[in-house]
Symmetry: D3
Subunit: 266 residues, 6 copies
C-alpha cells in the first residue's frame, strides 16, 4: 500500500484548495464490507462518522483498513467534544479528522492541539498504522505528519459564523467543513432542519470566500446530489455525500420500485 | 411486540403458498442499523445470510432484534453443512431457516431433523427469544413451533433438480428456495454465473409446478428487480432481493451519477 | 414499534411528576438477552449503565433494541464527564440520559447543552433510530425531541445538595436522580457507603420538596427493595433497582439455598 | 492460578463418581461479569452453553477466564453436531465438554475422537491456555490431558436410553449428562416439556444404576432447586442449575415483589 | 490493491512447486495490528489459524484485510471437520484454506468439494471480497478461482501417511501440509509431542517425494527456525513458522534478558 | 485469586519507592492470549494502553482478567484527556491508571479527582470486579482503595518539567511516569523522537531526585532494553518495556533471521 494512496498526505489541504471538487462517501454503519463497498463506489475518500454514526474505535481501525484496501484515504468525524479520539484515529491510519461544533478560535486551537505534534499542538508520539501507511522513518513521520494529516473544523452554529475568520486563522487548522443541517437548526432558532433555508444558503458564499482568503479548503456535507452539485459549483472543494444508510435505503427502495414497474409491464 | 408480527408463524408456509408474492430483503453485512434500514424499506421480511454473508451468531441475535423492531420477521440462511446453527437461530427468534445445497431427500431429512421438534425431527428444547416472541407457554410453543418455523431447502444443483419431488415430499420441509446463480454454474458445468441461462429459466416452471403439487411454497433469490418481477409472475411466492451491499453500491453510484447530471445542467 | 411505547416521550417528565411511582431496572452487563430479561421482568423501563457498568456504545445500541423488543424505553447513564455519549445514546433511540456527579448549575447547563437541540442546547442533528422510533418527520422530531427526551442530573455530592435549587432551575434539565451511595460517601467524608446514613436520609425529603417546587421529577437509585419502597413512599417518582448482577447473584444464591432446604426435607 | 483449581483435572471423573454431589451453574449469556457472578455464587463449577445459549467462541475464551478468576473450572456445552468446538474449548482452558443428543455408541465414539488425544481419539495438538492452566510440560500435558479433561455425552432421546450401556462403555467417554427437558419431549412423542413426566422420572434410576455399573458419573440438568435436590438424592453426582437468565429473572421478580410487600406494610 | 499481490492466485500451487521456499507467518491471536505486524515482518504470506488459534470469522475478515494492507496473501486453517468455513474464508478474500486431519482420499474429496466450484467441487457462488481482490469479472472469477485458491490437506496421522498417494491424487487438492506435532503424537501412540522423533523425520523425505511425483507442493509447520531451515532444505516449498504468541513470548523474554545483561555490564 | 497478587494494593506506591526496580510489560493490542503471554513472560505487571494502543473498554475488562489469570496486576493508560475511563478501569479491577500529558498541578488534581474517592477526589462508588479482587467488604474497599490504586501522571512536556515539584506535591497523586519519546519531541521543538537526546537524558536525574524528595515513585517507558537498564540504574522504580507489537516484530524477525543462519550452515 503506497503512502500516496491512503497514508498521511493522501488528502493534502493544498491539493484540496487547488484541485477539482473532491467527493467523499460518508459512512455511519462501518462494518468492513460496507466501507469497502462505499470506497469502491466512486468516492475519492470516505468519512467514518463517530458523532452521529456507529464508528466506535474498533470499527474505525477496521474501517480505515477497509478503505485502504480499496485505495481510498479515510477521515474520521469525532464525537462532540471528543478530541481524545483524534490522535487515536491518526495513529490508526486516518488521513484526517473532523471536529463537530467548533464555535470559536479557542475551540479550534484546542482541536489543533489534539491533532498536531509540537510545536503546533500537543499530539503525543505513538503512531502505529499511521507510521506504516506513511512509508516514512520515525523522524520523517514526525517532520511530515502535521502537514499530511488534516484537521477540519465543523462550522454549524451562529457563533461559528461570527468567528469564521478567527477560526480559519488558527495555525494548524487545515480547513472548515460546513454542517448545513445543524446550521439550519441554529439559524432558525431550532425551528427547521433544512439546508435550503435562505439564511443557510446565504452563508455559503461568505464561507467559501473566507476560506479562500485564508487559503484553506472549505468542505461541506450534502444531503442530496443536487445540493452536492450546487456546493461544488459554489467552490467547496470537498463535498461529503451520504450517509451509507441513506444510500442503502435508496438502493433498496429503488429495487422494490423497479420490481413494481417491471411487474406492471404487459 | 406481538407474536403475529415477528414471531414464529409470522411467515407461515400456508400463507406463502396462497398469498400474494412476498418480497424479502437479503442482508449480508448485518449490523443493527443496516438490518433496520432494510426492514423499513418495504420488504415483508429479511434474510440474514450466514453462508455468503457476514452474519455470525452475535450478529444474527442482533439482526433478528433489529428486524423485529421494524415489525419484520427474519429468516437465516445457514452456512454450507451448517445445520448446527439452525436451532440456534430459531432459539434467537428467527421465523425460519434456509439450508443451502440440499441435493436429495436424505439431506433434506437431516436438515428437517435439525429444525423440527420430535416427533418430526430432533431439535432440542431451549427456545429463548423464540419463546418470548411467540407469546406462548412452553407447551404451547412446543405444540406450535414445528408449524410456525420454516425450513426451506435450497435447490441449486443438478442433483437437486433430479430429486426435487423427493425433496418436496420430505415431511417437515416447508418449501424450497431456488439459488439461480449456483444453478447456472451447475447447469453450465462451471462455465457461467448467469440466471438468464436458458437451462436455468427452463427449470423454473417445472420447480413451481412441483412445489404446487406438493402444496409447498417455492421461493427464489433474484439478482435484479426485472428477474424478481419475472419470478413472481411465474408463481414463486417468496422472492428475495439484494443483497444489502448491492443496494448500497447502487444507491451510492446513483447519488454520484446524480451529482454529475446536476453539475452538467446549465 | 409504536413511538408511545419506547420512543422519545415514552418517559415524559410531566408523566413522571404526576404519575404513580415508576420502577426502573438497572443494567450493568447489557448483552441482548440480559436486557430483554430485565425488560420483561416487570420494570417500566431499564437503564443501561455506562458509568459503573459495561455499557459500551455497541452494547447501548443493542440494549436499547432489546428493551424496545420488550416494549420498554431505555435510559442511559453516562460516564463521569462523558457528555459526548449523550446525543449518541439519543440518536440510538434512548428515551433519556442520566449524568453522574452534577455539582452545580454550570455543570447542569453543560449537560443540557449536550442533550437538547437549539435554542435550549447545542445537540447536533443526526437522529438515526431515535427518529425511526419516534414515528415523526424530521421537523416533527426536531420540534418534539427536547420535550420527549429526558436529561436527568445525578445529585450525589455535598456541592450538589447546596446547589440543588439552582440545578433544578436550569432550563432543559428534566429532573434529578439521587445517588445515595455516593451521597453517603460524600456526607461521611469518605468514611462509609451506606444509604441508611442519617445525613443521607435527612436529605431525601428536602430533595423531593425541592423537585416538587421546581415541578420536576425526583428519581433515585435503591440498593434494596425495602429502600425502594421507602423512596416511593417519600415521593420519588422514578425508583431504580438493581443492578442486574445483584439480581443474578440473588437468584443464584436463592436457588442454591433452595436446593439445600429441599435436600434437608425428610 | 493453580492447576488443581481450574485447569484440566479440576473436574476429574473419578472424583465426581465418588464425591458428594457437585452443583454447577449454567450460563447462557456469558459476558465476563455474568460468569464471574455465577462462579462466585456458590457453584463448584460453571457451564458455558454454546447449544441453546449465546456462548460463541470469543465469549467462551472470556468466560473460561472469568470462571478461573473466581477459582472455578468451566465446562462447555457444544452445539448440536458441533464437535469441532470441543478441542477449541479445551485449548482455551475448559475442564471438559458436553455433547448434546448422543444417541448411540457410534456418536459417542465420534465425540470422544474429537476430545481425546491418540491413541484414544484424534484431538489435535495445540493447547494454548489449556497448557498454561495445567502447569505441566508439553509431554506432561499430553500424558495427562485425556484423563483430566471430561467428555460428557447428553442422554436425552429414546434412542440414547436404549443404547445407554453401549454409550457408557465407550472408551474415553467420561460420563453422561441427562437432558430431562428433551427427554420428556422425546418420551411424550413431542407432546410435553416436563421433567416430572413419569416416564422421565422412571428412567432416572436406571440411568444412575447404569452409570454406577460403568463406574462413570451421571450428571443432569435441573430446571428447579427441588428437582436438583431430588436428582442429588437419586445419586447424580453432577447437578446443573440455571440458566443464568432464569436466576436473573427470578432475582428481579423477587426484588419487585419485595418492593410491593414493603410498600404494603403499614 | 492489485490482484497479484493478495488476491486469488497470489499463492499459486504451481509457483510453490517450482519456486524458492516460501516462509509463512502463523497467527493464532489475529487482531488487526498483530496480523499487520506479522505480515510486515518478512514473511511471504500469513496463516490465520481457526483450529488451534482464535481466528473466528469476524477476525478472519479483519485479518485478511490486515495482511492485504501489508501486501501479503492470507491462508486460513479450518477447524477440525469445519469445512463450512472454507468458502466463507475464500469469499472474504483468503488465498487458500488448510484442512486439518485429512486421513484418506474420501476426506480429501469432501474438502475439495467445499473449496472448488463445479465441476470439481460444490463451492457455492457468492464471492464478496474474493471477487474484488481478484480484479476479475464474475465469469472471470468463476473461470479462475479453482486454479487460484489453494486447498491444502494436513497430513498428520498414521492413516494419512498410508493414504498419501491417494490423497495427493485427488483432483482439486492443491497440496499437502504436514503437521509434525500431531504426526509425532500419532507415530508415538500418544507418547510424545516431538517433531524430532525419528519416525517423524523419516516420514518427511517420503512425503516430499510423493508430492513431487504428484507435482503438488508439500508444506509443513515448523516449531523452530532450525527445523524450518531443515524442512526447506529437504524440499518443502512452503514452511510455516510461529505462532505469533511464540514470537511474542520470545521477543518479550529476549528483551527482559537483554535488560539483565545490560544491567550486569559495568 | 488473592487480593495481594492482582487486586488493589498489588502495586503499592510505597513498595515501588523502596523496592527493587519493577519491570512492566506494555500492551497495545490486548486480546486475551496476548495479555496472558506478556503476563507470563517475566514482567511483574502489565499496562494496557488506551492512548496509543487498541485497549477499548471491552478489551480492558478482558485484559485485566487475562493478566490476573497469570497472577499479574494491570495498569491502564488513559487516552489524552480521557479521565472518564479512570474509574471504569479501576471498577474493572485495574491496580492503577496512568494519565498522559499532565502539564501542571491543576491537571494533576483533576486527574486525582477522577481516581480517588472522597475526601481526596470525586471517584464515584461502583466497584465491580475491583471489589471482588480486593477480598474486602464494601466499607473496607472504600477505606483502602485510595491507598491501593495508583494514580500516575505522565511527565512528557516542557511545561510538566517546569511544574514537576508542584505536580508531585498534589495529594493523592501516587507518582510520575516519564514519556521520553514525547519529552524528546517537546525538548527538540518537534524536531526529533529520540530518548537519547541530551536534553532528555539530562532531565532524568532531576526527575528521579524530585520524586525522591516527594517520596513518590518515578516510573518511565523504555524504548529498548539498554535504556531500561539505564533507567533502573538511575533510580526509576518502575520501568515499562514494549510494546507487545515490538516484541512480536522482534520475535518474528529473529526467527526469520535464525532460519537464514541455519540454512547457511553447511
Ligand atoms: Mg506520550
Ligand atoms: Mg437438550
Ligand atoms: Mg452537525
Ligand atoms: Mg494438527
Ligand atoms: Mg448458492
Ligand atoms: Mg454515583
Amino acid at each position: 500500500m503506497t503512502s500516496t494512496a491512503v497514508g498521511p498526505g493522501a488528502l493534502g489541504a493544498a491539493a484540496l484548495v487547488n484541485g477539482a471538487p473532491h467527493f467523499n462517501g460518508w459512512v455511519q454503519a462501518p462494518s468492513a464490507l460496507v466501507v469497502e463497498t462505499i470506497a469502491r463506489a466512486g468516492f475519492a475518500s470516505v468519512t467514518l462518522d463517530a458523532q452521529h454514526g456507529f464508528a466506535t474505535f474498533d470499527r474505525i481501525v477496521e474501517g480505515i483498513a477497509a478503505a485502504a484496501l480499496a485505495g481510498r484515504p479515510a477521515l474520521v468525524r469525532l464525537p462532540l467534544d471528543g478530541f481524545s479520539l483524534a490522535a487515536q484515529a491518526l495513529d490508526a491510519g486516518a488521513a484526517g479528522v473532523i471536529a463537530p461544533m467548533i464555535d470559536d478560535a479557542a475551540m479550534a486551537r484546542a482541536f489543533v492541539a489534539a491533532v498536531k505534534f509540537p510545536p503546533i499542538g500537543r499530539r503525543s508520539w505513538g503512531p502505529n498504522r499511521g507510521l506504516s501507511f506513511s512509508g516514512l522513518s520515525r523522524d520523517g513521520y514526525l517532520a511530515e505528519a502535521n502537514r499530511r494529516t488534516l484537521a477540519l473544523a465543523m462550522i454549524e452554529t451562529v457563533e461559528a459564523l461570527a468567528a469564521l475568520d478567527d477560526i480559519l486563522a488558527v495555525e494548524g487548522l487545515d480547513g472548515v467543513l460546513i454542517g448545513p443541517n445543524d446550521l439550519s437548526v441554529a439559524l432558525s432558532g431550532g425551528a427547521a432542519v433544512d439546508p435550503a433555508l435562505p439564511a443557510v444558503v446565504k452563508a455559503l458564499d461568505a464561507i467559501v470566500a473566507a476560506a479562500r482568503r485564508a487559503k484553506k479548503p472549505a468542505a461541506i456535507f450534502a444531503n442530496t446530489p443536487t445540493l452536492a452539485a450546487d456546493y461544488a459549483a459554489r467552490g467547496f472543494s470537498l463535498v461529503c455525500l451520504g450517509p451509507d444508510l441513506a444510500f442503502l435505503q435508496q438502493g433498496a427502495a429503488r429495487a422494490l420500485a423497479d420490481v413494481g414497474e417491471a411487474s406492471a409491464r404487459p
